[in-house]
Symmetry: C2
DNA sequence: GTCTATAGATGGATAGAC
DNA sequence: GTCTATCCATCTATAGAC
């Protein structure tokens, strides 16, 4: 485990603040303080506030891509991995989910945000389509997972469904 | 149709800016300009930025409650109404959806935001539970609708599922 | 590569005229 | 009920020392 670069530490702080306080509270001062660098130090790595967002979107895409690849070889299969991670990891500190949660809070701030999130969604949908024969079923699994993800990011109880993923998949025929 | 009060016009402007530019761009100046009042005029109706958020959350709850009541007597039944409106109205300018989309962008800014959204979600889940016998099926329909809603708010294509709502419901047995 | 200092702009909120 | 004017805190970004 190599020590994370200063760039990554700053990005972590940016993500933390977005998730905990929202975009209205994101200031260079706040990010620098959380990352324990000075504002000048921060601006050496990210030349502007917009550069921070760019860095976040890069991370979101990179981690989502890796997560989808990881799903391909997951023990219970990709489909099961998709649903369980939608519901389980969103509240935990899996980096891929933290990054996309942070990005979700920036929708509207820049066109690239929604674009990136859509691209990541497409990755997952492609994966599901590869492993579920019927197209409509694949779409339904995708939408259901997205719903679980949304709920988890809202701090909602998802146990009712989380404990019955196998039965859910059986009923969907996936 | 009574002319909307100044309060409502200001709230509309606040919602517009949240949806179009995100919370990072919400300033009293911007809201006042969009509502075509002065900053002083705005602050007469909402004494602070926080009061604007409070006003939004009130509206979200009020409109969601009314929408759920409206769903009870919808032509195709409440369940069908839930799914079709999740997918259709989110991109349109139905006030209930615009308000909750705006609130969604403020998650993290204040605890009450996620709380309000959870409460509204509970309203819909109760409705579904009343009209779908099997509890797990009801939960699945709810999650699927939430997924469609999330996608619609991201400007995502939802037509594949939107055109097959009846088949979706048939497969879910709802 | 990280810091301090500071410029210059913009933010939220108040006071008081009309 | 709506406006203008203003205060002061905070924000982004730059300049330049170390």
């Amino acid at each position: 485990m190599p020590r994370p670069s200063a760039r990554e530490i700053v990005l972590d702080a940016y993500v933390d603040i977005l998730i905990e306080h929202g975009p209205g509270s994101v200031t260079l001062d706040a990010v620098a303080a959380k990352a324990k660098v000075s504002k000048g130090g921060l601006l050496y790595h990210f030349g502007s506030k917009e550069a921070l967002l760019t860095g976040l979107l890069d991370r979101v895409w990179r981690l989502s891509f890796a997560d989808v690849e990881h799903a391909r070889t997951a023990p219970g299969g990709p489909v099961r991995y998709f649903l369980t991670s939608s519901v389980t990891d969103a509240s935990m500190d899996k980096p891929a989910h933290r990054a996309s949660m942070a990005a979700l809070r920036q929708v509207g701030a820049d066109e690239r945000v929604a674009q990136t999130i859509r691209n990541c969604g497409q990755l997952w949908r492609n994966l599901l389509a590869e492993h579920i024969e019927d197209p409509l079923t694949a779409e339904m699994v995708g939408a259901l997972g997205d719903g679980l993800y949304l709920r988890a990011t809202m701090g909602e109880e998802t146990e009712t469904l989380a404990n019955q993923i196998d039965e859910v998949l059986r009923r969907l025929g996936a």
